[in-house]
């Protein structure tokens, strides 16, 4: 048995070492530095207590960035879920050439979010982008909407890019889940006299819920960390209108070099996410 123990240790040691190096050290660092006073100008490593955290609570820009992030999450996630479900319903019954359609529809997901943002910058360009051109056709006159600059247009623009890229993700997962629903239950419901909606809500939805929960968890997490797409389209602008939490943290750390303050922000983000994820996992039971 001790030989097995040795074997196991050899197998897991390198992985654990790498994970600790890149995973634990930053946490320790954040913990320490967030209680200090290191800024762009001062390298003050004395104990500053909770001053950084208190400052954070007052920081309107920080709260706004949180709000922006929640807005993105709150709008994009349900949209992607509903659209993905509708698409899956479209494809679930027999359709000629379905594998081809699915393979093509998945392409937006594997593109880099930066490329996605760049693509939609192209699409939304006020003079040379097809979006304005098509709207112009429909409206009958020339339109020059500044999608990436006008404050009331930037949110729709970013949301369009985000939903475009990730709805296929939901679609793919929900299609797989729908395919796995026991057909004889649906047949029994048909014979029992249940209509479309009753069958959907009472039988189909409970059956696909486990997969839906995982999809929501994964997308929800990703949306909370939203950075690349927004950066490519607006860089958080105009001003700080579309600044997400991640962009805010980046700016504070790498443009303003507010080291300790950024550490406090980062720490809180990790803490909040850990709590949320643990609660969610407990309900969904991911680890087999």
């Amino acid at each position: 048995m001790t030989r097995d123990r040795q074997f196991q240790t050899t197998l897991i040691a390198p992985s654990i070492f790498v994970l600790l190096l890149i995973g634990v050290f930053p946490l320790v660092y954040l913990l320490v530095v967030s209680f200090q006073g290191i800024t762009m100008t001062a390298n003050d490593t004395s104990f500053h207590g909770l001053r950084n955290f208190a400052q954070l609570m007052q920081d309107t820009r920080a709260w706004e960035s949180l709000l922006h992030t929640l807005v993105f999450t709150g709008v994009a996630l349900p949209l992607e879920l509903v659209l993905g479900l509708l698409m899956a319903q479209l494809f679930i019954d027999h359709l000629p050439g379905r594998p081809v359609f699915v393979a093509l529809l998945v392409l937006p997901v594997v593109v880099s979010p930066i490329v996605s943002g760049a693509t939609w910058s192209l699409m939304f360009d006020n003079r040379f982008g097809p979006i304005n051109q098509v709207i112009g056709w429909l409206a009958g006159r020339e339109v020059t909407l500044l999608w990436t600059i006008q404050p009331n247009l930037v949110y729709p623009a970013i949301l369009v890019a985000e939903v475009w890229q990730w709805t296929p993700f939901m679609f793919l997962l929900l299609l797989a889940a729908l395919s796995a629903v026991d057909k004889s239950q649906l047949e029994a419901a048909a014979i029992d006299g249940a209509g479309y909606w009753r069958t959907f809500f009472r039988i189909v939805l409970p059956a696909i819920w486990p997969v839906m929960a995982v999809a929501i968890l994964i997308r929800g997490l990703d949306l909370f960390r939203l950075f690349d797409i927004v950066w490519a389209l607006t860089k958080g602008g105009p001003g700080t209108t579309t600044e997400t939490l991640s962009i805010f943290t980046y700016v504070k750390g790498f443009q303003q070099f507010e080291t300790s303050y950024t550490a406090a922000v980062a720490l809180l983000i990790i803490f909040a996410l850990s709590v949320a994820v643990t609660l969610a996992l407990r309900r969904v039971q991911l680890s087999r």
Binding site: D182, S184, Q185, E187, A188, A189, A190, I191, D192, G193, A194, G195, R198, R202, I203, P206, A207
Partner: protein, 366 residues
């Protein structure tokens, strides 16, 4: 309660002709069993009656009403599935009540109906449980409960006992039959198990390759099969088939087997086949009609032969002995305690009154 009439029904799966021109009339209140090997089309036929499958051509009429274009929910039928098809996220109560709720039945009525159905099937103590907490037999009862609670006019069973172990199956067979006696509804039951068919049916419809091979009361099919297929399908162990030739024997006819054994036909039967002399036939005789010859048994029609027993299989209630006759392996049914030794020579008597003569080419019973 309704009768069922199917006319000229055809069904294709792509190019596969699954159901080939079925005509079937089932009077109201009858328990009909569709039986046959896998792939004979019985399940397909049942599913077209239910409306779960489209038909190629033909008509299906329930209580005189043509239902071809009606979806399942409008045909007023109930169905019990092989894998139960219960809704896993609902309690037993909700499962049974589902169909009633879908038709907007008032709650008090639902309550009384569900309780009545549950009591009839002895599952009223399980109403709060979920399917995953139940055993196979209990699950099947819940599935049946869901079907009977709606008081539909036609009941369809798609191999409901296939997933149960042998003992449970025996129990449930009796339960379903008793249910039919109590409810008196028209029931159509699909199975591949000929014992289920024999014990439960008012009428057996034996299907083969998409067609009806023969239909009728169980004992009719058993004792008067129309073809070799029907004869060999019903009865366990299966009927023995031995190639033979009708030859003259004294004043009457006899069957001469490949090993020159002669089995004389009784007088009445000889008269019937008088014109068929010298014809090649297949002799069909059931194991229960071959037994050990007893001295003093002089009934007419018993043909005697001697054979070496190759294999002995005691089942407790009787013993089956395998021996060679006419170049074939033949099974005889012996008394329970009559366990010969292997290779022991035994005197056997074959009841030629009950034997069948079958045309080797057409496989029709003569």
């Amino acid at each position: 309660m309704a009768d069922l009439k199917i006319s000229a029904l055809h069904k294709y799966y792509g190019t596969m002709h699954a159901v080939r021109g079925i005509d079937l009339e089932i009077p109201a209140g009858e328990f009909t069993v569709l039986v046959g090997q896998s792939g004979c089309g019985k399940s397909t036929l049942l599913r077209t009656i239910a409306g779960l499958e489209d038909i190629g051509s033909g008509t299906i009429a329930i209580a005189g009403e043509v239902v071809n274009d009606l979806p399942p929910r409008e045909r007023d039928i109930a169905m019990v599935f092989q894998n139960y098809a219960l809704y896993p996220y609902m309690t037993v109560y909700d499962n049974i009540a589902f169909g009633l709720r879908a038709r907007k039945t008032p709650r008090s009525e639902i309550e009384s109906k569900v309780q009545a159905a549950a009591k009839m099937l002895a599952i009223d103590h399980l109403l709060d449980r979920h399917p995953r907490q139940l055993s196979g037999g209990q699950l099947q009862r819940v599935a049946i409960g869901r079907a009977i609670v709606r008081n539909a006019r036609l009941y369809l069973f798609d191999e409901p006992l296939s997933n149960l172990d042998a003992q449970l199956r025996d129990e449930m067979r009796g339960e379903i039959k008793r249910l039919h006696q109590e409810l008196g509804k028209t029931m159509i039951y699909v199975t591949h198990d000929q014992i289920e068919a024999m014990t439960m049916a008012d009428r057996i419809v034996l299907m083969r390759e998409g067609r009806i091979e023969q239909q009728g009361a169980p004992l009719d099919l058993y004792e008067r099969p129309a073809t070799k297929y029907v004869a060999g399908f019903l009865g366990s162990p299966a009927m023995n088939f031995i190639p033979a030739q009708l030859v003259a024997d004294g004043g009457g006819l006899a069957l001469r087997l490949a090993d020159n054994t002669r089995l004389a036909l009784p007088a009445q039967r000889a008269a019937r086949y008088a014109t068929q002399r010298d014809r090649a036939v297949t002799l069909g005789v059931r194991p229960e009609h071959i037994g050990r010859a007893r001295a003093g048994d002089t009934r007419a029609g018993l043909a005697r032969c001697a054979a070496d027993i190759d294999l002995v299989q005691p089942t407790g209630s009787r013993t089956y002995g395998t021996f060679r006759l006419g170049g074939q392996e033949v099974i005889a049914e012996l008394q329970a305690h009559d366990v010969p030794k292997v290779h022991e020579r035994v005197e056997l008597a074959i009841d030629m009154n009950r034997a069948l003569l079958i045309d080797p080419q057409t496989e029709a019973v003569l």
